[in-house]
Amino acid sequence: MRVNIILEVYKFKVKAFFGALRASKASLALLLVYTFGFIPSVVGFSMSITNAVRQGNANPELYAEFLTAIVSALILFVTLLTLRGYTVFEYEQNFIFTSPIQPREFLVASMFADFTASLIFVNPVFILYVIIVLSLNLEFHLALLMFLAILIFIFLLFFLKASLSLMKILYEGSLVNSIILTLAFIFLLPTLRLLIDFPLKFASLPYPSTFLAKILLNIIFNEEPQIFNLLGLIFYFSLGFLFFMFASGKNFFPLSRHTPFVSPFDTSMRMQTLKMRKSIKTFSRISLFFQLNLKSKSLLLFLMRKEIIRTMREGSLFAIILLYLIAALISISIRQASQTSSFFPLTLLVGIYSLIVPLMLVSNWRSSEFENLWIPLTSGVNIRTLVRSLLYDFVLISSAIPAVVMLILSIFSNNNPISSLILIISTSMIGCSVNLYVMMKFLGKKRRGTPALLIGWASLALSALLLAPIYLSIVVSVYLKLGDIVGNLLSIAMLIYSALIMKYFLGKMEKNMINIEI
């Protein structure tokens, strides 16, 4: 292996990855938002760990199970990623694979480049590490050991990912798929333990996640880690390394598939379109049964159908369903953990999600449809109908899915869902109107360069401001335990208020749409 070649490819890949970060201030803002967004949760999480350790009321066995499950989930995720085979970017195929570089040299450079890139995303873990080390006043050698254990585990993940992905393209067939899926199933079991009460204790089984979890817990409790656990982790690391050495010896260059290069820091419209194309390829396979045809009786219904087809084939609809399922699971866990029958935490959580979903829908519409706006705008179609179809669709999607989730949960928990449903519908009406209006305002030639992220923040702030009276009235009615009649009257008032806001923005949007220049 030639170290200078590896170094050159490494530098090239890192530059390509961080290219957008250097070019755009908005991307830097995105990174800061990401990092600072995690700090409160990281601090909260570390405080709960350090307090539990200091007070001596922590249950190490329970912690081991919990941490094993989390680490296993991470391995599961990486394992599932390998199902698509080893992918490279087009520029790598064109410029690097046509040079006399050896596959192993490329793989090593890629691994270190991926590691460098991942440091950006796992920075909350390092913040957590520093807080724990400092607040628990850990001895230096233990802090170092903890750091090394995490590092070894990260490289184990890289070895696993690279080797399995290479196997997938080198020996295409059901055997490799079966091996990957079996591994995924094995790593799924400890994660399932979080939701279903298995009789089996995974923390006592020789999972790589178990070894890491036990080492970390020993150190947190200021104990020397057991040699058995250290050897276990090193054993898995060596196994991963050997597997990597075997797989990287093969010439995979002609078999690799390329994916569009999408840097997470690139917020440009072109990159969003590339991401969207990838989604269409995936989701159109399962949504082509729902077709745009000549059956719709009115133009409004026809255009609404077209928008629903877009959200299905681009995957937005499925992402929203997944988002609410996660919300429902979190709510159920909170209710079970706090042993409360109150519906309020769930309402609040779904309410918050209902604020994000309109932003998601409108941002996706912008990425996907802006370049296609010339079609309706040169057709002479009634602009009012066009805008209404968009808005009604967004309101329908962003309210129907959480409403169904809420109704199902209310049946199981025997709660009255009316106030929650009103909150969802109102949030959706106001959120969609505001987001679409702000987005259209920024479609003008002079403002078009503004990153979607910043537009999103503006929309969220305005939506939150307009929704404040609704949230306030719900909180008041819950705490004052207002009667049904007052509650119903309040609900009607909320709906009228939301409808008025929607009507106001609808008029504004028509004017904006007319003035869009392409």
Binding site: M276, R277, I280, K281, S284, L288, Q291, L292, N293, L294, S296, L299, F302, L303, K306, I309, R310, R313, E314, S368, E369, E371, N372, W374, I375, P376, L377, T378, S379, G380, V381, N382, I383, I514, N515, E517, I518
Partner: protein, 262 residues
Amino acid sequence: MNPIVELIDVWKSYNGTQALRGLNLEVYRGEIFGLLGPNGAGKTTTLKIIVGLLKMDKGVVKVNGVDISEEPYEYKRLIGYVPETVSLPEYLTVEEFLIYSGKIREVSNEQIRERIGYFIRLFELEGKRKSLILSLSRGMRQKVAIASALIHDPDLLILDEPFIGIDPMGQHILKDLFNERIKDGKTVFVSTHMLDTAERLCNRVAIIHRGQNVASGDLRNLQQLSKSGENATLEEVFLKLTEEAEMQVVEGEKKKEDSLTY
């Protein structure tokens, strides 16, 4: 005869850069009209102003005698437009997209069905009818965009560089299609860089340079105007006229600088 498209003293600038400087133009019914000019001459800007995708700073644009600033919607029913860079909803199939194009122009279901069948056969897209636009090549997308612009059988078809990306057979089909349309009294208005194609296809052309109409008419008019001789090709005429126009601009700028110096 009243022109179907008339531009009178149209001005447009982008962030201080003047794209159109008092452009005058007339396009008549039953002709294939070519808009020629070097890069950055203002061809795409002109077409976008006519179809309502850009707003002019000053001037009058009339389509079928109607001032588009006063009546910015109804006239679009007469127009079919294909931009230079065709962007289509990639999540729709070819058939779905053509249905969408027909529906938003309020074409009857029966006509939509009939015309989809016709264009799919004409452009040899039978195998792609149910395919997502995402899977189409650039040339195929261009054909689908042209079919969508014709789904309502418009009086005026406006195309920005329509032949780019289309194979020779496709170009031949298009030229035949355009000729068929003008026989029915319809108008085809194209902007193109391909001077040999323009020479063979267009009944009249306008050469624009730096946002101004340098010359317009049929080839014979332009040969006379440029004093290039009877055997001069459109390319020779084009080069001569644009060079002369450029010289005038340079001289004008020099005079301006001189007057400022003194």
